[in-house]
Amino acid sequence: MTEAAAVGIGASVRRKEDVRFVTGKGRYTDDINQPGQLYAVFLRSPYARARIDAVDAAEALAVDGVAAVLTGRDMADDGLGDLPCGWLVKQADGTDMVSAPHPPLAHSVVNYVGEPYGVVIARELEIARRAAELVETEFTEREAVVDPDRAMHSEDIHEGVVGNLAYRWTLGEQAATEAALAGAAHVVRLDLVNNRLIPNAMEPRAAVGVYDPGSGDHVLYTTSQNPHLERLVLSAFVRVAPEHKLRVVAPDVGGGFGSKIFVYPEETTVIWAARRLGRPVKWTAERSESFLTDAHGRDHVTHAQLGLDADGRFVGLKVETVANLGAYLSLFGSSVPTYLYGTLLAGQYRTPNIFVEVHGVYTNTVPVDAYRGAGRPEATYVVERIVEAAARQLGRNPAELRRINLIRPEDFPYQTPVALVYDTGNYQASLDRALALADYAGFPARKAEAARRGKRRGIGLSCYIEACGLAPSKLAIQLGAGVGLYESGEIRVNPTGNVTVFTGTHSHGQGHETTFAQIVADRFGVGIDDVEVVHGDTGRVEFGLGTYGSRSLAVGGSALMKAADKLIAKGCRIAAHMLEAPLDAVGFDDGRFRVRDSNQSLGFGEVAFAAYVPANYPEDLEPGFSEKAFYDPENFTYPAGTHIAEVEIDEDTGVVELVSFVAVDDFGNLINPLIVQGQVHGGLAQGIGQALYEQGIYDDWGQLQTGSYMDYCMPRADHLPDFVVDTTVTPCTHNPLGAKGCGEAGAIGSPAAVMNAVTDALGREDIAMPATPEKVWRALAGR
């Protein structure tokens, strides 16, 4: 099939951006060099918690080629502000969360290993590296607080933050939930740890700062998922430069997974230093810096109780969680274990009573923030582990116990006891399809066959739900967000009829340059190669909130649909005038403006040309053929599905082999099924990585023990099976595309499915992620 034949909505079009990526012509931040640029190497704390007594840079400054050594004190003296947390969480008692000050460069104290307190800037990278070794810093080391579960009973890290508690947050009805548990026929209890993860986008973070002393313009090239938000924070809060004098460009970005949402100390320093020195300044993280300083993910300790009646119906769920927020509140760190977690604890079920209590605590570890799924994997892990455990304890079939508790198609819209209103779904359809694809019924035979080979075989389900399409602005702001979460889009039809599309979302692997072009090509009936999608540059795109929370298509794509509607409406007016027809007789379909019940029509390009060369043109209409729109979602979208994992465990070695994985997801309408499949695969790899391989570990002194690819186990090609993926469709009811978002589902559903399979094989629940051979072997050996 040629690409001309099928490019529209629903076609698996090959990606437009791939030609540059497969030929090495991508342009990532580290590929950008500026004439006269200097190189930055950061001075980083070797201690998890210490006072900075003195920084002596004399020897470093004497090295030939060193331009400057700047410290946190210099930055504070220049009047730069702290890095803000963008989401104010209200505590259960009605007070605001307690936010500790977070200077971009530390000046008095350091609170995690790797925290930057200064920077050496030199003509060559090698010189900067050598000079950084010569900076003498005196610290007074203090006792580190590392374990989140003990943080509330440790010494206070920040002055005025009592018990290291950022907030105690609750959601749901406590009394009703406790009464339901007290009256339940069965109560299942489970202690769970959601392991700390290190995002590890393959492109390390980087930044190049450029300042033009003539114009006063600043340009910051950086690895960001949301350049406009970056500009807003750097301008309004950190006060690096006024917004109209600061352009932020996020060029090709090599993966983000959440970790590139946040505004970090390094890019802040680079653009500030470029102005101070009057020279471009460049920094690229080494991987070891990525491990130490990229915001980590997850890190929850949870106790959960699920009550069931005599028939197996869920009557109450109570969840108590301690969430590690790290040393400072990162940009959205506060919202992840609260609004993105507690609100999802209903899962796919009609549990009438739910109560969740979260203690968000500071520790002397790098800040924790959104990582693929952000709160929703943690919620799914709690719900789906305890539901599976309940089935085992009651001797019920796990699929059937779920089925009698599922929200039914006729229940929508469904108000959960934890704030959300699910608009639509068909959870039974995904469950049935997944059970069929996994041959769930045939499992006992496979288990018996595996046993004959000396292997323990287990199977596990996970019926997840997520809230995506972040987010209705009014609701988000009511809940504490510092910005609205609408999205902007602009479509400029050029005089020759080809189209430039501007979106406030950012693509760093998701394929927007193709998907968004498909939407616009489909609407206008033009070729996909005649549509160019521009993103990632505050100098070219008016505004935007960026890409996270599986929002780009549902929110950003909907903005483009609105802009396209405006253009078609304007085109109809132009065409009506040119064809001397009444406006209400003109419509647009298949790429032409047509007069109803006649053979008169004008091509899309002809109308575009007329708009720019307005000779025969309506007198009361502005020339030009360009429209923009802001789209604010009415509700979250609710992708949901069923994942089924099957494992085999080698009893001698404890090695877990994932032998099959089935994912059936409902993302609503699909624009490009092949891209969706890729998103699911990638999410699954990260979720399976969490379950079997990955864990960020700090020792008791706050030293990161997993600071390289030698120590932190990333899933490799031979760790993973081929995936079986399929979709069911219930279109989203409240956006024009009927799309829900697909970026995070894989990472949300899979950890519980894999661990349910592992615990099934082992016959015990008390094994924590990741299920490494050592842990599994110990569990089998009873040691």
Partner: protein, 162 residues
């Protein structure tokens, strides 16, 4: 130190410090930025290039070790408009997302197909375990490499040619 090497068919004579890595020559001196650096411990494979016809991690090779050698980078195997069969297969199969690991992955995959006999999906997975991808989950990468391997067997394309 002075050294001469051939990169993508062009001879270059450079004056570099003895501790200069091959990847720095490629990126910083020759401005061939398609070869990427994703780690500092030779684990990720984003910097994979061909050195005298074999895949190497160019962050682990000193520039001096490549003196007199023939180096081929992602830019040397095919460009827009004339893609190498492996590049074409990656595009056809959606075997890349952010694109950062892709050049190294393609260079490793070409070597694997050229030197691996009777590849199946599992041996492709084993053969690529030295290259990390955080986006794709590898499934589509395996699809692409199997396609390119089949194309080579059918002798309709020369995957083995640099």
């Amino acid at each position: 130190m002075k050294l001469t090497l051939t990169v993508n068919g062009d001879a270059h004579t450079l004056d570099v410090a003895p501790n200069t890595l091959l990847v720095d020559v490629i990126r910083e001196h020759l401005h061939l930025t398609g070869t990427h650096v994703g780690c500092d411990s030779s684990q990720c494979g984003a910097c994979t290039v061909h050195l005298d016809g074999r895949a190497v991690k160019s962050c682990t090779v000193l520039a001096g070790q490549a003196a007199g050698a023939r180096v081929v980078t992602i830019e040397g195997i095919g460009g827009p408009g004339r893609l190498h069969p492996m590049q074409e297969a990656f595009r056809d199969r959606h075997a890349l997302q952010c694109g950062f690991c892709t050049p190294g992955m393609i260079m490793a995959a070409i070597d694997l197909v050229r030197h691996g006999d009777g590849l199946d999906r599992q041996s492709v997975r084993r053969g690529l375990e030295g290259n990390l991808c955080r986006c794709t989950g590898y499934h589509h990468i395996v699809d692409a490499v199997m396609d390119a391997a089949a194309a080579t067997r059918d002798a309709t394309a020369e995957v083995g040619h640099d």
